[in-house]
């Protein structure tokens, strides 16, 4: 996967034009509400809402599948653990809870370009050091993956099969050398990428083309989330049976 691929459908999605600060707050709010909700009906509502948001976003399903694949273990494993320890109902609740959160986050990541997201985080007073680090770490992850792929191809071309477990001496040596070499090569590329950004005037501040400005559609967005949140809470407290 390329570093820009997660964002690539963002500009054409329905949720792109909404203020990233609003999207961030609403999605995080939903995740929080889900975390504190136990009632199955409430969780079902949140899950349905998140799914609707994802479907309405206009991001191609193909793309969504790869984005959600990353999060799938987080839905399955805790639910499984709960199934074995506490029973089917808590397990289902957990699955719905995590699924709702993951889907909401997917809306955020696929419809908000990285720089917009960081700008929103900075607006919420996240320190500049953190936003710089998030930006570069994100980019460098893909540099590393790229170098790893190249090295593993080169290894396979020379007959290394990778069988045997961690404590096998030969496998361990090869793997640790690969890791080391990848790191060293990625280091050179990483510094070039950093320098290139500095050369174009990056100084730690994250800037975007247009000023962040919330408009009426953002108000509608917030209202939508608040309504669902309120409904969910009411369902949980039993006021709506």
């Amino acid at each position: 996967m390329n570093h820009a691929e997660i964002d690539q459908y963002s500009t054409r999605s329905r949720w792109y034009r909404f203020d990233p600060r609003v999207k961030l707050a609403c999605v995080v709010g939903l995740v929080l509400v889900a975390a504190l909700t136990r009632d199955l009906a409430s969780l079902l509502l949140l899950f349905a809402f998140s799914s609707a948001l994802v479907l309405a976003s206009g991001v191609p399903l193909r793309h969504l599948r790869s984005v959600l694949a990353l999060a799938a273990p987080f839905v399955v494993f805790p639910a499984l653990a709960l199934l074995l320890t506490n029973g089917p109902l808590p397990a289902l609740a957990m699955a719905l809870r995590v699924a709702a959160s993951v889907l909401a986050l997917a809306v955020l990541t696929t419809t908000t370009p990285m720089f917009h997201l960081l700008r929103a985080l900075r607006w919420y007073r996240m320190p500049a050091l953190l936003s710089s680090l998030v930006l570069f770490t994100y980019r460098f992850i893909f540099v590393l993956l790229d170098e790893l792929e190249r090295m593993s191809l080169a290894r396979r071309a020379r007959g290394f099969t990778g069988r045997g477990h961690l404590l096998s001496r030969e496998v361990f040596r090869t793997l640790s050398f690969t890791a080391g070499m990848t790191f060293v090569r990625a280091h050179a590329r990483a510094m070039r990428i950093y320098d290139a950004l500095l050369a174009r005037g990056y100084s730690g501040e994250v800037r975007t083309l247009s000023e962040l400005r919330a408009g009426p559609r953002d108000v509608a967005f917030i209202v939508m989330f608040l309504t669902i949140g309120a409904l969910s809470v009411l369902l949980q407290t039993g006021a709506l049976t």
Binding site: N2, H3, A4, E5, D7, Q8, S10, T11, P113, M114, F115, R139, R189, R192, I193, D195, A196, L197, L198, A199, R200, G201, Y202, S203, R207, T208, L209, S210, E211
Partner: protein
């Protein structure tokens, strides 16, 4: 005022290896200079110093009249547009338009001015119509144009280019040379192995091998085979051909470097019918 000035500059890497020693260079505004030398000569390091990305270990680097120090480096960089060798290292954003706009936005220009510059830069780089495309889907040559557009949009008075024609197909190379040719009034430093590009675009050449081996006109350089040898350089085919031809026919005069010059010299010989 010089655009770029280096006084007794040396640069040593963190691991102790010396990259550059006792560099003294002065480049005027609007001058175009080629920077040549073998691999490992320090060309890239020198460009980094000229763009205020590195601070010299000793000596002074002065860009557009201001000395480069840790404090002034950030501002100094805005005077210099640095085109990196690998566009993958330089192109950052998921959309061409956004990437070209990155520089102007960092210059804190208003949205209208940014739009204007981006559109002009995209036109100059020949990538009109690519605005919505994702850079990582483009070919090498196309990515290079996006990188150039990004630099041009900043409208810096100084342009530094690290091996700009490397890995480009012949047409791409031609297009790049045309783009650079059309940049009027800009100070330009071109680090390259490709001497023919140097001949076409510049009049002055600096030969670098950790120190400055030669700094003068290109014509002067071709008459110094010793320096060419030490810098592991080879003249391109046209001058080499003309060199042998002139030896064989006993013709005297300046060595033709470009095709045009060679044709002029050949025309001077009456054709035997």
């Amino acid at each position: 005022m010089n655009a770029i000035q280096l006084n007794d500059v040396s640069y040593t890497y963190d691991d102790g290896s010396v990259a550059l020693r006792d560099i003294n260079i002065a480049i005027d505004r609007g001058e175009r200079v080629a920077l040549v030398g073998p691999n490992g000569a320090g060309k890239s390091t020198l460009l980094h110093l000229m763009s205020a990305l590195y601070i010299p270990t000793s000596g002074r680097v002065v860009i557009e009249g201001e000395e480069v120090t840790r404090r002034t480096a950030e501002k100094a960089r805005l005077n210099v547009g640095f085109l990196f060798q690998d566009p993958d290292d330089q192109v950052f954003m998921p959309r061409v338009y956004d990437d070209v706009a990155f520089g102007p936005i960092n210059l804190r220009l208003g949205p209208e001015e940014v739009r204007l510059r981006v559109e002009q830069a995209i036109a100059m780089a020949g990538i009109r119509g690519y605005e919505e495309r994702a850079p990582h889907h483009l070919s090498f040559g196309e990515k290079k144009r996006v990188a150039i557009a990004g630099i041009l949009a900043m409208r810096s008075p100084i342009l530094l280019l690290d091996e700009p024609t490397a890995n480009l197909d012949p047409q791409g190379r031609r297009d790049l040379v045309n783009i650079l040719e059309s940049q009027e009034g800009k100070t330009m430093v071109l680090a390259t192995h490709d001497l023919s590009v140097a001949f076409e675009l510049t009049d002055r050449v600096i030969v670098l091998k950790r120190t400055v081996l030669y700094d003068g006109s290109i014509r002067g350089l071709v008459e110094r085979p010793d320096i060419l040898a030490e810098a592991r350089l080879e003249l391109p085919s046209v001058p080499r051909l003309m060199e042998r031809w002139m030896q064989r026919t006993g013709r005297a005069g300046p060595l033709p470097l470009t095709i045009d010059e060679a044709l002029a010299a050949l025309d001077g010989c009456a054709p035997r019918s």
